[in-house]
Symmetry: C2
Subunit: 185 residues, 2 copies
C-alpha cells in the first residue's frame, strides 16, 4: 500500500473456520488516521431465482426453499444459494448450487445484481441470478442442509415480501430484481 | 432445550470482539442429527431512509450517505444505519443513528421491514425504517465513520438500484420498500 492510501496496514487472523474466517485488521481511513476493524472473510456466494415457467409470461411460477436456519432458530423462505468454491466463477456456482439444492438444470442463467450482504463486518458478496428453461433432475444436498421445495407464483412471492413473510435479504432482493420491482403504493 | 428439539446443544466462544463475536456451536438439526456451525453474533441494527420532502409527494428527495467501507475497499452508497446499543429498541436506535449520522430529527419514523442480512453465518437482523418530517441539526459521527451526505430524488435512487450503483443490500431493500417497489419491466 502506498503511503497515505486507504486500506489495510496490518492484519491478524483471529479465527480460521470451515465457512468463514475472522481477521482483525489495522486500516488506514480516508482522513489518514488508522484504526482496528473486525472483518469476517467469506469467499462469496451465488443465489438463484428458479423460474418454472416463462419469466415474461403471466404470473410465472418460481421455486422457493423452506430452509431451517439456526441463526434464526426458524425455517426461512429462501432462494437456492451457496458459497463459491475456490477459484469458481459466480455463474458456475449458480449452476452447481441450483442443481445440488433443487435438482434442476437451467438452459438460461441471467445475472441480475451483485450485493454486499452487510459491509460493516464482512466482505461477503452475493451474486444474484435468474434461472429459466429448467429441466428437473435429482438434488444432492449437504448433510446440514434441511430444505423443502415450494412452488410459488411470482405475484404471491412479491406479496410475501410486502408483508414480511420473506425475511432473508438476498431472497427479497433477488425476487424484486427478477420481477423488475413491481407493486404500487 | 428439550430432547429432540432443534437448536443449540453446546456453544464455544471462539472470539469476542468490539462489534461482533464468533461462536462455534453444536446444533441439533430437524432430522435429529447434530453438527458444528460457526455463528457470528451481532446485536442487530436499524437503518433509515430519510425523506427530505413528503414521501407521498411527486418524486420526493431522500438522503444517501457515501461511506468508505473497508470491506469493499471502496465508497458505497448507503442509508444511515447503526448497531443497537444494549437493551435499545430498534425504533430508538433509528432515531439516534439518524441524528448521529445526518444531524436530522424525524417527526415521523415508520417501520418498513426487518431482514436477516445473511443467515448462513450470522444472527444479525436489520430493522428498516422510513423517516419523514425532518428537522436539521448537527451530525455526531464515530471516529471511524467517513461519510458524505447526498440528496437524491427517489426516482434516481431507484434507477441506481436497477443499474447496480447501490451495492449494499439493506440500502437497496430499504429504498425499494420505502418506494413501494416501483419500476416496470
Amino acid at each position: 500500500m502506498a503511503a497515505g492510501e486507504t486500506g489495510r496496514v496490518a492484519t491478524r487472523r483471529a479465527y480460521t473456520g470451515r465457512v468463514i474466517s475472522l481477521d482483525v485488521d489495522t486500516v488506514r481511513f480516508p482522513d489518514g488516521s488508522t484504526g482496528e476493524l473486525e472483518m469476517v472473510r467469506h469467499p462469496g456466494a451465488s443465489a438463484i431465482v428458479p423460474f418454472l415457467s416463462d419469466p415474461a409470461g403471466e404470473d410465472p411460477q418460481i421455486l422457493l426453499l423452506r430452509q431451517y436456519r439456526y441463526a434464526a432458530l426458524d425455517v426461512l423462505y429462501e432462494v437456492p444459494a451457496g458459497r463459491l468454491d475456490a477459484g469458481e466463477a459466480p455463474l458456475a456456482c449458480a449452476h452447481r448450487e441450483l442443481l445440488e439444492e433443487t435438482g434442476c438444470r437451467a438452459g438460461r442463467m441471467e445475472h441480475l445484481f451483485t450485493m454486499y450482504t452487510t459491509p460493516g463486518f464482512t466482505d461477503e458478496k452475493i451474486h444474484l441470478f435468474l434461472a429459466a428453461e429448467l429441466t428437473m433432475g435429482e438434488a444432492h444436498r449437504e448433510a446440514d442442509e434441511f430444505i423443502e421445495l415450494e412452488r410459488v407464483p411470482l405475484s404471491r412471492a412479491l406479496e410475501m415480501i410486502e408483508r414480511g413473510a420473506i425475511q432473508d435479504a438476498k431472497t427479497a432482493l433477488a425476487i424484486l430484481y427478477a420481477a423488475g420491482f413491481r407493486a404500487g403504493r
